[in-house]
């Protein structure tokens, strides 16, 4: 596996790197703000933050074409922002307001955008893997050339339906790329304690699904692996498995103190493997940008996120009549 040393930097242009920096920073600042609003009681229920894993979705999104679908589980804010969904719409869903993507009826774990081909946002661990395989089935049925990115975590990698889906996807050569975001902890259970084979990229072997391990903290490495996998799927050669070695800085959800890992471990990841710091270093080392220019991007992002927080608090709660809508479609 390539270490997070920026050795792929030369494979990305200045504009691309600046875009990745911006996109990753948006996710990080958005999540920090979401954590703050949760702390103020403005976001309820469960809230799973994506901080630390930003390079995975930003790199994979860069490997897609318009119309390609994305589906994931409940740690989904980053995937939505990467897919181009607005910070306002996502944040307002977190606060349960009518301006949210699900009109306040889905919450953190259940948001969708047909326009951006984002199919959720699913709260049952592993369910999105079968669903994403079905989206890919529809692509093949229609021969429309689309590819579906199906994300899941190292925890979901032990669910049976993942392998039921692998089998059908390989059998029918469906255009799907499976992305395991291995952040090393399924809630509080480390991969060593949950998995007999901890190299999750090997999990496709008995289905003839090729897999590779990718440095999920290096956005360019992610993109390059993503391109290979997506093009293979689009060419009709069937599914591909990418294991993204990544790390979440925060607990599983807001109420998780994360006592199952050491502070030193977390600090080491933050200090030496941070995906945003890596891109920053690439940009500065290559002379693409200086500290002042990056600071200016940071400032712009802060405004976007701050505006989303304001929108999410000013947007009204759903009208009581929404209680009984969207249950059935009139035939």
């Amino acid at each position: 596996m390539a270490k997070a040393n920026g050795k792929h930097a030369a494979e990305a242009t200045k504009d691309e790197l600046l875009q990745y920096y911006r996109d990753m920073l948006l996710i990080r600042r958005f999540e920090e703000r979401a954590g703050q609003l949760y702390g103020m009681g403005l976001i309820g229920g469960f809230c799973h933050l994506y901080i630390g894993q930003e390079a995975v979705v930003v790199g994979m999104q860069a490997a897609l074409k318009d119309g390609d679908q994305v589906i994931t589980a409940y740690r989904d804010h980053g995937h939505m922002l990467a897919a181009g969904m607005t910070a306002n719409g996502v944040m307002a869903e977190l606060t349960g307001r009518s301006g949210g993507y699900s009109k306040g009826k889905g919450g953190s774990m259940h948001m969708f955008s047909i326009e951006k081909a984002f199919y959720g946002g699913h709260g049952i661990v592993g369910a999105q893997v079968s669903l994403g395989t079905g989206l890919a089935f529809a692509n093949k049925y229609r021969s429309d050339g689309k590819v579906c990115l199906t994300y899941f975590g190292d925890g979901a990698a032990n669910q049976g339906q993942v392998y039921e889906s692998f089998n059908m996807a390989a059998l029918w050569k469906l255009p799907v790329v499976y992305i395991i975001e291995n952040n090393q902890y399924a809630m509080g259970t480390s991969i060593q304690r949950s998995s007999s084979e901890t190299h999750l990229y090997k999990r496709g072997i008995s289905f003839n699904i090729p897999g590779e391990e990718v440095d999920g903290m290096d956005v360019v490495a992610v993109r390059e692996a993503g391109k290979r996998a997506v093009e293979r799927a689009r060419a009709g050669e069937g599914p591909y498995l990418l294991e993204m070695k990544t790390y979440r800085y925060r607990g599983h959800s807001m109420s998780d103190p994360a006592k199952y890992r050491t502070k030193e471990e977390v600090d080491e990841k933050k200090a030496k493997h941070d995906p945003i710091e890596l891109v920053k270093k690439m940009l500065i080392d290559a002379g693409h940008a200086d500290e002042a220019a990056l600071k200016e991007i940071d400032r712009e992002i802060r405004t976007v996120v701050s505006d989303s927080a304001t929108f999410a608090q000013e947007s009204p709660e759903p009208d009581p009549s929404e209680l009984m809508t969207d249950i059935y479609i009139d035939a």
């Binding site: 990080r28 920090e32 199919y119 079968s130 079905g134 059908m168 608090q313």
Partner: protein, 456 residues
């Protein structure tokens, strides 16, 4: 200046202890930096800064107990504050409308009108219509074939549906006509292919997912309920799942408990699903065609014991039976028998025996269990003043329990006897022939129940 507030660190936290400050006045802090440790009733949690700036004041001392959520605990000044003002707090502090009360007063519909799609059309067979004989099995096949010809988004998937021609030969001939892309043999993988089907439906296809029996469909119940039935609501109306899950339901013959379960009440519990359980071939064909066209997820419960039975069916082009309408199978004056699926046949036989004894029973075939056409049952009870429900499944929380509750609630004054339920005995279904027969409802049970409510 930006105030840092005491955060809530779980959905239920109202206060906590400020165990430790990790910054002091004058420190510059960055977003993501840990600034304090807070003890909740469950754990000690780290608090990270969201804004950057310089700590100008610590408002709560280290060691303070019972600090209420949203109390200001520190003040930040300096660069960054202008770009990142503290989120407005009015939304939290303004009194929230009492949603519970408001719901009851203004928004909560009558229970019987809950989330019910409007039934459409008429089920009457026009006078003079030519009738033909057909097995229920072939009626189901014809329904699928006609809809697949009509709409190329419709496809069938399941175990043995294609080359084997269906485990119960329901899909005979479909592979030859429509090819392997639209008649898809799956591995034995119910959870996976049900989820795959829902995903394909979310992408706009119209899958028919066959379970070899609904007993195996239990492996897929998560996708039927969590993925298919709920996503329209959870997506604020964006994600649609037009999908039919179908297959044989209930007790076959001597296949024991795991292969004999009736799922009528299980699925009829779920808002977002349509649940259909037809009796004869005309309803099976007309309702399956309606189900395939319906934009909602449909659970279609067939009965294996009826697959080979020949029924008369109207020989008309595009025979459709509307979803959500019960059918009065026999008109009577003395008692209402409310039932569905295979038990309709038992109820009709019981009615014949009862007629010989001078009791005139009205038999209502519910046909659709969700939305439940309770109005037709209530109208009947207002006439007969007596109610017997019959179902193949267990009694507790069953379809009959629901019918009895709604009739009691909405037509109490019309009842001359307590409503009575006929159902399977409260035990797993046995293999032994005698025990199986003892467990399942039969014609005699229905006759006895009717006599009880008519005091005969």
């Amino acid at each position: 200046m930006t105030q840092i507030l005491m955060p809530a660190l779980s959905p239920t936290m109202e206060e906590g202890n400020l165990a430790k400050w990790l910054v002091k006045v004058g420190d510059r802090i960055e977003p993501g930096q840990v600034i304090a440790e807070i003890e909740t009733d469950k754990a000690t949690m780290e608090v990270e800064a969201v804004d950057e700036g310089t700590v100008t004041e610590l408002l709560v001392e280290e060691g303070a107990q019972g600090v209420k959520v949203n109390t200001p605990i520190a003040v930040l000044g300096g660069e960054g504050e202008a770009a990142a003002p503290a989120p407005k707090q009015e939304a939290k502090q303004a009194p929230r409308p009492d949603m519970k009360e408001e719901r009851v007063k203004t928004a909560r519909p009558e229970p019987s009108k809950l989330s019910t799609p409007t039934p459409q059309g008429d089920t009457e067979i026009p006078a003079g219509t030519q009738m033909i004989k057909i097995t229920l099995r072939d009626a189901l096949r014809d329904a699928m074939a006609e809809e697949m010809r009509r709409d190329d988004r419709v496809f069938l998937m399941g175990e043995e549906v294609a080359e084997y021609q269906g485990a119960y030969k329901v899909s005979r001939g479909l592979l030859e006509e429509f090819g392997p892309m639209r008649v898809v043999d799956t591995p034995i993988t119910e959870h996976g292919f049900a989820g795959l089907g829902v995903g394909a439906a979310m992408a706009g296809l119209k899958p028919i997912v066959e379970f070899m029996t609904w007993n195996f469909g239990m492996q897929a119940i998560d996708h039927i309920i969590n993925s298919a039935a709920k996503t329209l609501y959870m997506s604020g109306g964006q994600i649609k799942s037009s999908i039919v899950f179908r297959g044989p339901n209930g007790a076959a013959s001597r296949v024991a408990a795991q292969h004999s379960q009736d799922y009528s009440s299980w699925y009829s519990h779920i808002p977002g699903l349509i649940v259909i359980a037809p009796y004869d071939a005309a309803d099976a064909k007309g309702l399956l065609k309606a189900a395939i066209r319906n934009p909602n997820p449909v659970v279609f419960l067939e009965h294996e014991m009826l697959y080979g039975v020949e029924y008369e069916i109207p020989d008309v082009e595009d025979w459709i039976v509307p979803i959500g309408k019960a059918k009065v199978r026999r008109v009577g004056a003395d008692v209402t028998i409310s039932t569905h699926s295979r038990m309709v046949g038992h109820a009709l036989k019981a009615a014949e025996q009862l007629a010989e004894q001078g009791i005139d029973a009205e038999v209502i075939d519910l046909r659709t269990l969700r939305p439940l056409d309770i109005a037709t049952v209530i109208e009947s009870v207002k006439k007969t003043n007596r109610l017997v429900t019959v179902e193949e499944g267990w009694g507790q929380s069953g379809v009959g329990a629901e019918v009895c509750a709604r009739v009691t609630n909405e037509a109490f004054d019309y009842l001359d006897a307590p409503p009575t339920r006929v159902h399977q005995v409260d035990a797993p279904l046995a293999y032994a022939a005698n025990l199986e027969a003892l467990a399942l409802p039969n014609v005699d049970h229905i006759v006895d129940a009717v006599k009880a409510v008519t005091y005969r």
